[in-house]
């Protein structure tokens, strides 16, 4: 056991590199108190407000036609956009980490770009590109394929917002893993696909799952970009977050918070799985998590 490992096992109060006990207690109490007020209280408020008039009413409010349509639409949007982004993320990480070529930094910057663009601006971009009075959009609408105010627009806007998640998680992990294992597989006669499926994919599975998890959480909860491209046609282009806004603005508080509670429950499941992955497979995930 090294000296530092031993030192870290000493009671912290004895170490010269620790704060006085009262500072420690004060810091722990203030930060946890603030975290409770700022982050946990809103979460609790969602469930409390949805159960205000009893659980029966909360559940009933999720059972009507428009609410079910919103839930279905959100699931469809996630089911389309998340796998497509996962495929694009794997491809990008493969090209960036397994080969040497010029311009990598530019590609990484472009992949990260959606994180710094406002969701509303992203939505506006799609309206300008595919809206009925744009060049492409006009032609598509005339031929019966509307993008904006329809499912394809919602999927595209969601993909824009969630584009970086998978690639960001995979790139550091795959950089660290290098290429030796893949080269060995090829030397032993494996085909390209076989090498990918039996060597690369098992190596990156937990990092991939982690990225997909975050991507899915954001995809199901995206509001700003979808609000702009969806047109908010009730029962047709309203996803769960849009439905929450509509119900809330109509003063249907229990219904709005019940739908919100469903998404909050999803967020809790996401956090639990994410923590479980970090706890169990820390060594196979990106070392530092920047979002």
């Amino acid at each position: 056991m090294s000296d530092t490992a031993f030192a870290s096992r000493l009671p912290t109060a004895l170490a010269a590199t620790a704060e006085p006990a009262w500072v420690r207690r004060l810091l722990i109490l203030t930060t946890l108190g603030l975290l409770g007020l700022l982050v946990l209280a809103p979460l609790a408020a969602v469930f409390a407000e949805s159960l205000r008039n009893g659980i029966a009413l909360a559940v009933a409010s999720l059972g009507n036609r428009d609410a079910l349509a919103a839930i279905r639409l959100t699931l469809i949007v996630a089911a389309v956009s998340v796998p497509m982004n996962a495929a694009a993320g794997i491809a990008a990480a493969w090209a960036i980490t397994k080969f040497d070529w010029r311009g990598k930094a530019l590609l990484i910057t472009l992949i990260d770009l959606p994180f710094s663009v406002s969701p509303v601006v992203a939505g506006l971009c799609f309206v300008l590109l595919f809206g009925a009075n744009s060049l492409i959009g006009g032609w598509l609408v005339a031929h019966g394929y509307p993008i904006v105010f329809a499912l394809p627009g919602i999927v595209l806007a969601t993909m824009f917002i969630t584009f970086p998640f998978v690639a960001r998680e995979l790139i550091p992990v795959m950089t660290e893993q290098g290429r030796a294992e893949e080269e060995a597989a090829l030397t032993l006669g494996a085909s390209g696909w076989r090498m990918f499926l039996t060597v690369t994919l098992p190596n990156i599975r937990w990092a991939l799952l982690y990225g997909v998890l975050l991507c899915n959480a954001r995809a199901m909860g995206e509001f700003g970009a979808v609000a702009v491209v969806s047109g908010k046609i009730r029962g047709k282009t309203t996803t769960m977050p849009i439905m929450i806004e509509m119900l809330y603005n109509e003063y249907l508080s229990v219904a709005a918070f019940s739908m919100a509670a469903l998404l909050a429950a999803l967020a809790l499941v996401t956090l639990t799985l994410k923590s479980a992955l970090e706890w169990r497979y820390a060594d196979q995930l990106a070392a530092t998590h920047r979002h």
Binding site: T12, V39, P42, V46, A92, S118, L186, F223, G224, T288
Partner: protein, 277 residues
Amino acid sequence: MRPLALPSPLPGLGLAMGITVTTLSLVVLLPIGALLLRGAAIGPAEILALLGRDRVQAALILSFRAALVAAAFNLVFGLALAWVLARYRFPGRRLVDAAVDLPFALPTAVAGIALTALYAPNGAFGRLLEPLGIKVAYSEAGIWIALIFVGLPFVVRSVQPVIEEIDREVEEASATLGASRARTFLRVILPMLVPALLTGFALALARSVGEYGSVIFIAGNLPMATEIAPLLIVIRLEEFDYDGAVAIALAMLGISFALLLAINLVQIWSRRRMGAV
């Protein structure tokens, strides 16, 4: 000059690049291109005129100011929280660590209505604050609260890994040389955390400037007072005033790019500084 791509025994560069570039173009680059193209068609003079309107200026300034306030709060609070999580052991630490990411996982619209329910005059917190004359919901303070919520994880997650990697021997050396704990923190530890702190601050700022979902419910959305820039884009679109929407969007894109550049410069600077040690 280095060739464009070095030869590699691994297959699939063409396919992977094909998929990446196609998706990236369709999903990200073409849409942003459409915005820039539209901006070029409107012309710089007209865009400046559109941005010069009082209501637009008020909205842009509000979005930036509120984001700055929230990011500054998170800079201090995030550092304290990261320190507590990295250095102290207490029951429930893992749970708290997981809870820090809640703002990433909770949809913004959900956070928005939840915060409004809490801080509205008849809400659990609003009821306590109202007799004190403090109005949070439907005022700028409400926007700060929402943006603090949204930006909280950025500073914590940027700084926490750096604190965990600090070599304790440096602190021991400082203590041995007679520095007080406070002095060690300010003169030895804090300088090591500056790049990560700046990165987290800039990321939180970038996210907060463009934030929409969590803000619009609690803000009250009064023109010239509590109307944020992304909301004004939505309003312009609903009025079919595309040029007005594009002008604001371009201004916001400019702010985003400036912040992105700042983040990259900080990282280059810190790599150079750390490399020199």
